[in-house]
């Protein structure tokens, strides 16, 4: 019995289940007789709380990988398991439900719904989950990103930085298990970018959310615990999981 206890005390900490696991992933498009492969043989695991930056030149397949990981697109081969669910076995609507429950997004073009006010944009993920009393949570998040007084403004009445902060509030209003960010600072100036990235990492830490970040910006990539470099649709380097 003692022996057993001793063994347990000296055993390595149990490895957590990855929130995202990608195996032998490939994506190709057919244009007539020609097949264009944009992604091949991608293997990747991301663990809860991990921050991971995907970098690489334009056309290297970063955004395609992000789309496949989030279940926005169907792979040509391989599999993606998100929050324990193999995506290939899920229907479009089941994938949407999974995203609503476990995934957050921040886009380069902010992607706010232009017909909704800032507050309503933040409320959407809560409302989609049937939560009717989320207004105060949404307002709190807006306050946290410094836009407490702009809740009734429409996206076109906000600056780029403000729109991205609303997007950030929307992504964290229902703390996700994994957040996908596609060039979150691509349309912002350096100073605004800096403030936004601080907020992004702070929220990530606070909520224990895994962060998958696609970026061209080396300084932004450097803030992530793990950097994956892509080229011609393949992962050419991976600094490895910071949590393992």
């Amino acid at each position: 019995m003692h022996q057993i206890v001793a063994m347990a005390e000296h055993a390595p900490a149990p490895r957590p289940s990855p929130v995202l696991q990608v195996s032998d992933l490939a994506k190709s498009y057919t244009d007539g007789a020609r097949t264009l492969t944009v992604l091949s043989q991608v293997e990747l695991s991301v663990f809860p709380g991990e921050t991971c930056a995907i970098t690489g030149p334009s056309g290297s397949g970063k955004t395609t990988l992000l789309g496949l990981c989030a279940g926005l697109d169907e792979p040509s081969a391989g599999s993606v398991t998100l929050d324990g669910h193999p995506l290939e076995s899920l229907s479009q609507n089941q994938r949407a439900a999974l995203r609503g429950r476990s995934v957050g997004f921040v886009f380069q073009n902010f992607q706010l719904i232009p017909t909704l006010t800032a507050l309503e944009n933040v409320l959407v993920p809560l409302e989609l989950q049937g939560q009717t009393d989320g207004r105060s949570d949404a307002q709190t998040l807006l306050d946290k990103v410094g836009l407490g007084g702009r809740g009734s403004h429409y996206p076109h009445q906000l600056s780029g930085g403000e729109q991205q902060r609303v997007a950030l509030a929307r992504a964290f209003v229902r703390p996700p298990k994994i957040l996908f960010a596609d060039e979150p600072t691509g349309n912002l100036d350096a100073e605004t970018s800096e403030r936004l990235v601080d907020m992004l990492f702070a929220l990530n830490r606070e909520n224990g959310t895994a962060l998958v970040l696609v970026t061209h910006d080396p300084s932004l990539a450097a803030r992530a615990g793990r950097i994956i470099r892509m080229h011609s649709g393949r992962i050419v380097s991976d600094t490895g999981s910071s949590l393992v």
Binding site: T63, A97, R101, V103, F105, Q111, I113, T132
Partner: protein, 875 residues
């Protein structure tokens, strides 16, 4: 690792999405910035459904009024009509079954003031007894009708007094007597003849009829008896009616009951309503296309928002629900407003026409009819609105990451099923119009074909514009015209809405014009303009001398002998079995034994006015056999010549035998010749022609046709005839055709009004299409101004674009209308005349001008907005 339970897409999938609070909230949030545009499309739906509701309600209300007041329309429980005097003995034998019997003798005659030169052909109605039994007749001064039997005199229509230049109290000459005008009749005398309305009516008591000396000398006299039956209830009334019907069977007596009159009226009403229903259905389909166009443009502008929602976890059914709810609300609001508008239009029309209708129609329509038409319209608009929603299923959440996405696969199966469902809906709404299923199918098919043709024309013109555009052409013009075929263009919607309006209005105009052309007397010197009727054999020389004294020469003269068919190929008419009534018509049909097809009853029972001659007229073509016969047989059937349609109705061939009852004498005849008659020529044409040498001794009268020189009226001739031969009627074909033409013009105005309804329904769509394109124009103009374009150049581009759009819509509508006119001229009106030029000029210029003005009005602010603001908003 255990695989967790797959995430549920939520309880709000499929139809459930329509019952989810969030989808309603999102639908509202999404639409609130578009309220003006949605209001415009709602208006389009409302106009379409309004037209449908108004027409259906009017039809139903008049039907109900006819049903409830059919006894008032007939004025009695039963009307017996004959072209021969009714047997008084038989009529007297009906006394135990009746409470009252009234009589009327009606014929056409000339009438004129004792002094003065004006004369007029009128319908004389000599009345005895208390007819009408159930209606009160309004006269000026009041109460004259009930005293008509008591004093000699006439009651006339007010318009006749003005025509003849006389007043109440003046005396009018009718045949051999002069009678004072006692007063005028306003309304309330039921019509006894289908010819009522073509000429003014004059009412007098029957007691004075013999003194006119006209009755015996007329070839076309109608004898009516009106019976008020001694029946306690409806069942007894029907029983007595059936008994009387049997008693008069085979006696060439027509029997009308409130039911048969109701059916006759309803049949005419149905035909008119069906025609108007085509316009209403077109307006409704335009409303539906408006909804489809609105939703198409709306969803196209919301693809990015949809992708974001899908990214955030919204399922496709929920996304579908958001826009489905918007479609429902748009169509529902339009349907409610349309129903309200339709009810108001109905009330307005009934109030305005109250004095012109022979019965009182309720101003408030039946709720069931309003609900039916509104629901049909609503469903059709929803059906059209769902079509663009299919695009939602093709939307990918990946659009949030990349704007350059391959086009989603279009589901042709879903589109096909929806298109078929839409066709079924159009058919259902067409059936609501009261059409038979096959007719509704033809109607739906026809309208779909027109829409299809317009769409093909629009697409061809867009393709044509792309092909003819040359780089060497001025930039501004090229830019304006290329807007027609570039992405996000509104050309198809524009052509459908404006083109359909142009097509309907122009086709209506062409139909009216072709019809009116037929009613004009042509300039050929052989075409008569006046026909003298009822010239007795001993009056022919007198009439010739009167005509000659006027400097005129008779064109044709023809003797007339009246007769009826007694048997066909050995089968007596009375032995022919009545066939099932067709289409609810009061004109039943009879089928000879073994006959595969019914024979219209009127063909068998009517009185034929035949002639005898050994010539073939210039308006006739011999199709079979020959005419005249080589020799009259001494002992065998008399060879006769019959008209083509008559031979078809009775399925007669050369050699077939018929027996005619020529005023009591049976005459065995055999078809010797079948000829085609050009009835459009107003010459003295006949269905049955006997050879000379057979009927000369039978009682007969003569017809004489004349042609008046250009600018000469028939007044002087009519006056001379009234003095010397008062029994002769001079029918002025020009004025008769002018009356018919006037009636048709009025009917055409109603049809044009309905076509205008369609155009009105199309206008909001047209404005909506322009509005949809406005945002694009604003963005492009901002870009062009950033690149250095002047306001004048931007305006020039817009002018070219809108003018070309209008012109294309005009061309599409005109081309289709010309096709329809060709078909009408070829197969309906048999006209070889070329289409008029003026309406073609209007149909091309007015849409162009309308599009230009509407486009420029909507683009007023395009050049005023800050380019920076525009480009920033469009980011």
């Amino acid at each position: 690792m255990n695989t967790p339970t797959p995430p549920s897409p939520g309880k709000h999938s499929g139809v459930g999405a329509f019952f989810c609070r969030w989808t309603w909230a999102m639908a509202w949030r999404d639409a609130r910035s578009q309220h003006k545009r949605f209001a415009l499309y709602t208006l389009s739906v409302a106009i379409g459904i309004g037209a449908l509701v108004a027409i259906h309600c009017l039809k139903a209300s008049v039907h109900s009024a006819i049903g409830a007041q059919s006894k008032l329309l007939l004025g009695a429980d039963l009307m017996l009509s004959s072209r021969r005097p009714l047997d008084e003995e038989t009529i007297r034998s009906l006394a135990p079954k009746t409470r009252a019997i009234a009589a009327e003798t009606a014929f056409s005659s000339m009438i004129g003031p004792v002094t003065g030169t004006r004369t007029r052909l009128v319908q004389v109605r000599a009345i005895r007894g208390g007819f009408p039994f159930r209606a009160s007749v309004e006269t000026v001064p009041p109460g004259l009708w009930s005293r008509l039997d008591e004093q000699p005199g006439m009651l006339v229509e007010a318009a006749l007094l003005a025509d003849l230049g006389v007043q109440v109290g003046d005396r009018l000459k009718l045949g051999a007597i002069e009678l004072p005008v006692l007063g005028t009749v306003l309304k309330g005398v039921p019509r006894s003849s289908r010819f009522s309305g073509l000429t003014p009516e004059v009412f007098m008591r029957e007691a004075d009829l013999a003194a006119t000396g006209l009755q015996g000398a007329r070839s076309l006299v109608f004898y009516h008896r009106f019976l008020e039956l001694n029946a306690r209830n409806e069942a007894a009334r029907l029983e007595i009616t059936e008994e009387i019907r049997k008693r008069f069977a085979g006696n060439a007596v027509q029997i009308q009951t409130p039911e048969s009159r109701r059916e006759t009226l309803a049949e005419g009403l149905d035909k008119a309503a069906e025609f108007l229903g085509i316009c209403a259905l077109s307006a409704l389909m335009l409303g539906g296309i408006g909804v489809a166009g609105a939703m198409h443009t709306h969803i196209r502008s919301r693809i990015q928002s949809l992708a974001i929602l899908l990214c955030l976890g919204c399922s496709t059914p929920l996304a579908f629900g958001i826009y489905g709810i918007q479609t429902l609300v748009l169509a529902g609001t339009g349907a409610l407003l349309g129903a309200l508008g339709g009810v108001l239009t109905h009330a307005l029309l009934v109030t305005l026409l109250a004095h012109q209708l022979p019965l009182s129609v309720a101003a408030l329509p039946e709720a069931g009819v309003v609900f039916g038409a509104m629901t049909g319209g609503f469903l059709l608009c929803c059906g059209f609105g769902i079509l663009p929603l299919l695009r939602i299923s093709q939307c990918s959440p990946l659009a949030t990451l990349s704007e350059r996405l391959p086009e989603g696969r279009r589901s042709y199966t879903a589109t096909g099923i929806l298109a078929l469902s839409l066709f079924a809906l159009v058919w259902l709404v067409a059936s609501l119009n009261g059409s038979r299923p096959t007719r509704a199918l033809a109607l739906s098919g026809g309208i779909s074909l027109v829409f299809g043709c317009l769409a093909i024309t629009a697409l061809s013109l867009m393709r044509g514009a792309r092909l003819v555009l040359r780089p060497a052409w001025p930039y501004l013009f090229r830019q304006g015209v290329s807007n027609l075929f570039r992405p996000h263009n509104q050309t198809l919607l524009f052509v459908l809405s404006l083109g359909l309006g142009v097509f309907l209005l122009l086709t209506t105009w062409f139909s009216k014009s072709l019809l009116l052309q037929k009613l004009q007397i042509d300039d050929q010197s052989i075409t008569p303009s006046v026909i003298l009727m009822d010239v007795q054999p001993d009056q022919t020389d007198l009439v010739r001398s009167i005509v000659a004294a006027q400097g005129l020469r008779p064109l044709e003269e023809a003797p007339i002998v009246t007769m009826r068919i007694e048997s066909v190929r050995g089968v007596p008419v009375s032995a022919l079995e009545p066939a099932a009534e067709e289409g609810g018509s009061a004109q039943g049909a009879r089928v000879p034994r073994g006959s595969p097809k019914s024979i219209p009853r009127w063909v068998l029972e009517r009185e034929y006015r035949s002639t005898y001659r050994n010539t073939v007229h210039t308006t006739e073509t011999v199709l079979a056999g020959s005419w005249p016969p080589p020799a009259l047989p001494t002992d065998g059937p008399i060879p006769i010549s019959v008209e083509e349609r008559f031979s078809q109705d009775l399925r007669l061939g050369v050699g077939d035998e018929l027996v005619f009852d020529v005023q009591g004498i049976p005459m065995r005849c055999a078809v010797s010749c079948i000829r085609r008659v050009d009835w459009r020529k107003l010459n003295l044409n006949f269905i049955i022609v006997f050879p000379a040498g057979v009927l000369e001794q039978a009682p007969h009268s003569h017809l004489v046709s004349l042609r008046l020189p250009e600018g000469k009226t028939s007044g002087e001739l009519q006056r001379s005839l009234l003095e010397a031969a008062p029994n002769v009627s001079a029918v002025d074909l020009s004025s008769l055709l002018a009356t018919v033409s006037d009636v048709l013009q009025k009917a055409a105005r109603v049809v044009e009004l309905m076509a205008g309804f369609t155009l009105a329904a199309g206008l909001p769509i047209l404005l909506g299409a322009l509005w949809n394109g406005r945002d694009q124009r604003v963005r492009e103009s901002a870009l062009l101004r950033t690149l250095g374009a002047s306001e004048k150049q931007i305006r020039a581009i817009l002018v070219y674009e809108y003018a070309t759009l209008g012109l294309i819509a005009g061309i599409a509508g005109t081309v289709l209308a010309l096709g329809a006119r060709f078909a009408l001229a070829q197969w309906v009106f048999h006209s070889t005349q070329a289409p008029e030029f003026a309406p073609l000029v209007y149909s091309l210029t007015l849409p162009t001008l309308a599009a230009l003005l509407a486009g420029l009005a909507l683009s007023r602010g395009v050049c005023r907005q800050s380019p920076l603001l525009v480009l920033r908003q469009g980011r």
